[in-house]
C-alpha cells in the first residue's frame, strides 16, 4: 500500500480530531471577521466564534448553500483581498448565475497535495503517464488533476475533453497508464476504440480515476471489464476545492475524505438534522484549511453515508459511500424518488444491455409518466418482434421492482442517445411544474 503523505493520511483519530478542532476554530474566526455574509448569518443564529469549543459545536453553525454563493456573486464570500487570490474558477451557470470560487497560493498548494494523495491512492506514481481528459478551463476538473499529477512527477498529457479519436491515438502512442475523465466518457471512449479496431490489450492503460458525476457499482464493473483496467472513484466539488476531496483506495470500499482539511457530516435533506454515521443522507462539508474561500457546512446535495471504521488500507480518514445521486438529479415520479444511477444499475444487470440510457419524465393528465430509453445492441437484437417485446417486458419488470414505480421501456437504435464528453445528461423532465 503506498501513500503520498502517510503521516496525515493515517493519522490516529485523536490527533486528527485535535488538528480538526484547531483548524475549525481558526476558520470560524476568520469567516466571522472577514466575510460580512457569514457574520450576519452567525449573528442571526446567535453564535460567536468562541462558542465553537468542540467538533460537535460545528452543528450550531448555519448551513451554506449554492444560493449563498450566488447571492454573493462574484467575490462576496472571499475571506482574502483579491491581491492574495491567485486563481478563480467558476461553474457554467446553466441553472442560474454561475458560482465563483477563489484560491490563494496556499489553497492551490493544498489542492495539489490532495490530488497527489488521490492519484497515489489509485496507484499512480512518477512513472505513470496520466492522460487528463477532464475539461481544462473554468471547470476545476482539468487543472485540479493536472497540478496533482505534476506534484507526483508523473508525465501529464493535458488532453482535456473532446476529440475522442485523437484521445485514443494519444493513449496508444504515448503509452497512457492512467486515464482521468467522467465515467460516461470512459465508456464512450471504449465505443470509439471498437470502431477504430483498437483493443484494450493494445494499450498500456492500467487504471482510470473517474468522477464529476454519480456512477453505480455496476458501471464500475462494466468499465473495468471493457477497458481491462481498475476504475477508481474520485469525489470533489468546486465550492469545496475541486477534485480530490475524497478518493477510493485499492479496497474500493468507499472514498476517503481528506479529513485534515474537510469536516464531513450527513444530514437529513428535509429536516436538516445531523444523522448518525452509517445513515444515508446529504453530505455537508466544512473546509478547515482554505484561505480564499472558506466554506462552513456546505450543502453538497450529494446523497451518501459515512463509515468511520478504519479501512484495511491503513488510512484513518472517514469513508463516504459512492454517491448514490444528487438530490437535484433526483426525479420524483408519482411521489417516488428515482435516481438515474438506480436505472443504470438495473440495466447493467441485464446481459447485453448497454449503460446508455435516458429518462424522460412527462405528465399525462395528472399522472407522471416515466419513459426509459434503452439502446438495442446487436447482442440483444432479434428479427422477431415477440423477442424484442419480451426483452422490453423484462427490463420493465426489473425496473419496477428496483425503482418502485413503473416505467415504459422504449427500445431505441444504438448510438442514438447523445454521448457526452463531460457530465452525461440522463434526465429530460418535460413536466411543467
Amino acid at each position: 500500500m503506498s501513500y503520498w503523505d502517510k503521516e496525515k493520511e493515517c493519522m490516529p483519530r485523536k490527533e486528527l480530531e485535535e488538528l480538526q478542532l484547531r483548524r475549525l476554530k481558526e476558520t470560524v474566526y476568520r469567516v466571522y471577521t472577514f466575510v460580512p455574509a457569514y457574520k450576519e448569518k452567525m449573528d442571526e443564529a446567535g453564535i460567536k466564534p468562541e462558542d465553537i469549543k468542540s467538533l460537535k459545536d460545528l452543528q450550531k453553525l448555519p448551513f451554506t448553500t449554492k444560493q449563498d454563493l450566488r447571492d454573493n456573486y462574484p467575490f462576496g464570500l472571499f475571506a482574502l483581498p483579491m491581491s492574495e487570490v491567485v486563481r478563480i474558477h467558476s461553474s457554467s451557470g446553466t441553472t442560474g448565475k454561475p458560482t465563483v470560487v477563489g484560491y490563494s497560493k496556499k489553497d492551490i498548494d493544498i489542492w495539489s497535495e490532495l490530488m497527489a494523495r488521490a492519484l497515489t491512492s489509485a496507484g499512480a506514481t512518477r512513472y505513470s503517464v496520466i492522460q487528463n481528459a477532464y475539461g481544462y478551463g473554468l471547470f476545476t476538473g482539468g487543472l485540479g488533476i493536472h497540478y496533482g499529477a505534476e506534484k507526483i512527477a508523473a508525465s501529464v498529457i493535458p488532453s482535456s475533453g473532446g476529440n475522442t479519436r485523437r484521445q485514443i491515438m494519444l493513449m496508444q502512442d504515448f503509452g497512457t497508464t492512467e486515464l482521468t475523465c467522467t465515467p460516461s466518457y470512459a465508456l464512450f471512449m471504449h465505443e470509439v476504440m471498437q470502431e477504430m479496431g483498437i483493443e484494450p490489450s493494445d494499450l498500456k492503460l492500467r487504471a482510470g480515476i473517474f468522477g464529476a458525476e454519480p456512477w453505480s457499482e455496476n458501471m464500475r464493473r462494466e468499465i473495468e471489464h471493457k477497458l481491462e483496467i481498475d476504475a477508481y472513484d474520485i469525489y470533489g466539488l468546486s465550492e469545496i476545492i475541486g477534485p480530490g476531496v475524497a478518493i477510493e483506495c485499492a479496497n474500493k470500499q468507499g472514498l476517503h475524505i481528506a479529513e485534515d482539511h474537510f469536516l464531513a457530516e450527513i444530514i437529513d435533506p428535509v429536516s436538516e438534522e445531523v444523522l448518525d454515521d452509517g445513515s444515508q443522507g446529504e453530505l455537508v462539508i466544512t473546509t478547515i484549511s482554505k484561505e480564499a474561500l472558506p466554506i462552513i457546512r456546505y450543502r453538497t446535495r450529494d446523497l451518501t453515508s459515512l463509515d468511520k471504521n478504519v479501512c484495511h488500507c491503513g488510512r484513518t480518514h472517514v469513508r463516504m459511500q459512492k454517491v448514490l445521486g444528487r438530490s437535484d438529479d433526483m426525479v420524483i415520479i408519482r411521489g417516488v424518488n428515482v435516481f438515474p444511477s438506480m436505472v443504470e444499475s438495473v440495466l447493467l444487470n441485464i446481459p447485453g444491455v448497454e449503460p446508455h440510457y435516458l429518462l424522460i419524465v412527462d405528465r399525462k393528465g395528472n399522472l407522471d409518466q416515466l419513459e426509459v430509453q434503452v439502446e438495442v445492441s446487436e447482442q440483444l437484437f432479434s428479427d422477431e418482434v415477440r423477442k424484442l417485446e419480451e426483452l422490453g417486458a423484462i427490463i420493465a419488470k426489473e425496473m419496477e421492482s428496483a425503482l418502485g414505480v413503473n416505467a415504459r421501456i422504449r427500445l431505441v437504435e444504438p448510438k442514438s442517445i447523445e454521448r457526452s464528453e463531460g457530465k452525461a445528461k440522463r434526465v429530460i423532465d418535460r413536466r411543467n411544474i
Binding site: 438495442v376 446487436e378 437484437f381 422477431e384 424484442l388 427500445l411 437504435e413 444504438p414 442514438s416
Partner: protein, 142 residues
C-alpha cells in the same frame, strides 16, 4: 436456405428512407422486403443480392443488424397455392415465426419467405413432400 438481413428501426420519420438510401448508394438491390412494426419500433426484413456486404454496410452506418436464416419457397400463383404448402407444414408440426410473399419472375409462381422454428426439420419435410424451395444463389439473382 437463404440469408435475410434484419434491421432494427426506431419508429421515427426518415429511418426507413435512410436505410434504403444507404443500401441504394452501395449498389445493393432489395429483392424482397417486409416490415414488422409495433408502436415503438419496427423490424425491417430484406432479401438482397449480396447479404454479406449489405450486413457490413449497414453495420458501418451504425444500424443494429442481424443475419437470419430463412427459407424461400416457390408457391403456385393460383387460388389455394399457399394453403397447400401451409397445410403440409401444419401436418408436419412445423412452427412458423413469420412469413412474407413476393412475386417471382416466372408468371405462374409466387415466392414465399418463411422464418421457421426448426430450419432443418422444415428442409427435410419440404424435400419429402416435394415442395420446391429456392437455393440461395438463385434467390439473390432473381
Amino acid at each position: 436456405m437463404a440469408k435475410q438481413i434484419s434491421v432494427f428501426l426506431e419508429n421515427k420519420a426518415g429511418r426507413l428512407s435512410h436505410v434504403t438510401r444507404v443500401l441504394g448508394d452501395a449498389g445493393i438491390n432489395i429483392r424482397a422486403l417486409s416490415i414488422a412494426d409495433t408502436s415503438d419500433f419496427g423490424i425491417l426484413r430484406i432479401i438482397v443480392n449480396d447479404p454479406a456486404r449489405a450486413y457490413r454496410i449497414l453495420k458501418d452506418a451504425n444500424f443494429t443488424v442481424s443475419e437470419t436464416e430463412v427459407i424461400a419457397v416457390q408457391v403456385s400463383d393460383s387460388p389455394g397455392g399457399l394453403a397447400a404448402v401451409l397445410e403440409q407444414m401444419s401436418e408436419a408440426n412445423l412452427n412458423i415465426e413469420y412469413l412474407y410473399a413476393f412475386l417471382g419472375t416466372s408468371e405462374n409462381d409466387a415466392l414465399v419467405v418463411f422464418k421457421v422454428e426448426d430450419m432443418d426439420k422444415t428442409c427435410i419435410t419440404f424435400k419429402e413432400k416435394g415442395i420446391k424451395f429456392i437455393d440461395e444463389k438463385q434467390l439473390y439473382e432473381l
